[in-house]
């Protein structure tokens, strides 16, 4: 299929199906790729994100593992160190914590501490985010824990098209990458071409151009920011939206450029505000563009509590279009 063909014809599929399709095309493309994780084989994954892959590629390439996150990541590290290109799944981002030694002490540092000899083309897939009533241990957004670790790359797609291109780039990258799906977005739809294509890691996407303020939004918050932008447009406010897509390495240049243009910044993420990636992004912007800012950088993020269970609490916990719009009004001094 040529690029021209994919562009002329809108092919709308779900975020989750884009993930499965990409894995399938990658498995067909490269015999060194295998997938391992809890329930990914015969059952097809708890969200059916791996559906049909075990039946098509067999137990050797789509491997059911014990519930053993350290060993799952360790399996990927050992196999990658000797030349395979593993994709290992951690099911829920909360389980990253169970495997943190293998991720942060082992995978991320191996190249450096072994003097550059180790190459680890390892992809860790997982699902983050709240909104499904999954409570405190199945809903977290832990990207800030990961971006603190030199040696990792951290990716969080906000739509099916980016999902495919970024996943291909992660799997083909020769470094350990953590690829996060948002579990509430699994059913969302978008245009996805057939066939493999790459979106470069470390490159942000300007989702919407604007002049009055910039919203930097991550994952599911990108869609909420777009809704907020519609509301704000009706109020005569023209916002720019930037989706970093890759959180590590971070596209500082893209957000600094936007800050110099709009002079007002609102950063939106689902993780708690305290110590979140918003703090890092704000620091980078003020280092590079302090003189261009017309208001303090605002952060719209979750309150400092575990993710609550009750829908009444959870709905109020996760930032949405309304709270984002309110954040933008704040940096424009329109809500006082």
């Amino acid at each position: 299929m040529t690029v021209a063909e994919t562009e002329t014809e809108e092919r709308i599929i779900r975020y989750n199906n884009a993930f499965t399709e990409t894995l399938r095309e990658l498995l067909l493309d490269d015999p060194d790729i295998f997938i391992a994780g809890e329930d990914v084989g015969r059952y097809g994954g708890v969200f059916q994100s791996f559906a049909g892959l075990n039946a098509e590629f067999g137990d050797e390439r789509v491997v059911d593992t014990p519930i053993a996150e350290q060993a799952i990541v360790g399996l990927g590290i050992g196999a990658a160190a000797v030349g395979l290109r593993p994709i290992v799944d951690l099911m829920f981002m909360d389980f990253v914590m169970v495997a943190m030694d293998q991720i942060a002490n082992q995978a991320a540092k191996m190249k450096y501490m072994y003097g550059g000899k180790a190459t680890l083309p390892l992809t860790i897939t997982t699902t983050g985010g709240a909104g499904l009533g999954a409570a405190a241990q199945h809903s977290q957004s832990l990207e800030a824990w990961l971006i603190h670790v030199p040696g990792l790359k951290v990716v969080y797609p906000s739509n099916p098209y980016d999902l495919k291109g970024l996943l291909v780039s992660c799997v083909r990258d020769d470094n350990p990458t953590v690829f996060t799906l948002h579990k509430k977005m699994l059913g969302s739809k978008g245009h996805v071409p057939e066939g493999l294509y790459e979106i470069p890691l470390g490159k942000a996407n300007v989702v919407r151009e604007g002049t009055d303020a910039t919203i930097i939004a991550i994952g599911m918050m990108v869609g909420e920011a777009e809704k907020a932008a519609e509301t704000l447009a009706e109020e005569g406010v023209n916002v720019e939206i930037i989706d970093p897509r890759t959180l590590l390495p971070f596209d500082t240049e893209a957000v600094v450029q936007s800050a110099k243009k709009t002079n007002r910044i609102v950063i939106v993420h689902e993780a708690v505000r305290n110590g979140g990636i918003g703090a890092e992004i704000a620091a980078q912007i003020q280092e590079e563009a302090f003189d261009y800012l017309d208001a303090p950088i605002a952060r719209v993020a979750a309150p400092f509590s575990p993710v609550p269970f009750s829908p009444a609490l959870e709905t109020a916990y996760v930032p949405n279009a309304e709270s984002i719009a309110e954040g933008v009004r704040g940096v424009l001094y329109r809500n006082v």
Binding site: Q70, A71, M113
Partner: protein, 331 residues
Amino acid sequence: MATKQQSKISKAVLLDLHRRMVRIRLLEEAAGRLASEAKIPGFIHLYVGEEAVAVGGCVALNEGDQITSTHRGHGHLVAKGGQFKPMMAEFMGRSTGYCKGKGGSMHISDLDLGMLGANGIVGGGVPHAVGAAFANKYRKNNLITMAFFGDGSTNIGAFHEAANMACALHLPVVFMCENNEYAEYTPRERVMAITDVADRAVAYGMPGVIVDGMDVVAVYEAAKAAVDRARNGDGPSMIECKTYRFYNHAGVSAFGTPYRTDEEVREWMERDPIKLFEAQLELAQVLSAEEAQAIHDEIQAEVDEAIEFAEASPMPDPSTDMLTDVYTEAP
């Protein structure tokens, strides 16, 4: 017993076992000296006393087979064929070291030799052996992987997860336990309710055997059987080697410590694996005392040369070397 066992093993293998043990011993004694003179920075975990385990294990392997290691990794790398110059340079933090001075003693490695790295996290390397073994099985390359670990690491979750996964996936791994009776500075009986680590093997569904870890031939023979089993597709095994480190967990002291008695240390030193083996080799007329001494002298000269090389080597340059090797750059 020794003579009978040796009769099954070729003279070349016996001499190889001996030479590799002496290589570890002389390198380690020199490293200890240099550490006490502060010429080697950081922590140092010497392998002295445990040589028979690394050597018995690695001589049973083929070229291309992989090993994973521990904090106490110098012996594993030497046993796998590591060279003195880049090792000594790495201990001293020089840019000519195996890890360009970025890893040091605790992360000594040579992936080209299949030595997948010494590891600062107890038990942290065991899952990597499972991953490498998975890759070997996946590629049907007839290679196997040997995981070295201590008694202490069998109490940590990563070990349990890795052992279970290796058995569940029926992978070509040999689990090689160095039971030196102390988890760092704490006696085994304070932190484990069992005496023999090998008892744990049955829980994973693999055979576990116990060998005298001061008897290199016993270790080699047990390792050979486990290696053959793995290579034949019969799955993992565990070997528990009863051994002892002559020096403390870290550093170069042997005596006068509160966690073990000097008498105990001396008793184990009487069972020095190199002395025991040299006596056997002399008795079996494989290697005379004079010939053994010549080997020591030859290796000592190589150690001395490595120290000279390391001391003459440049330190890494903060302005150019700090940020390289964090990531693999796209080709």
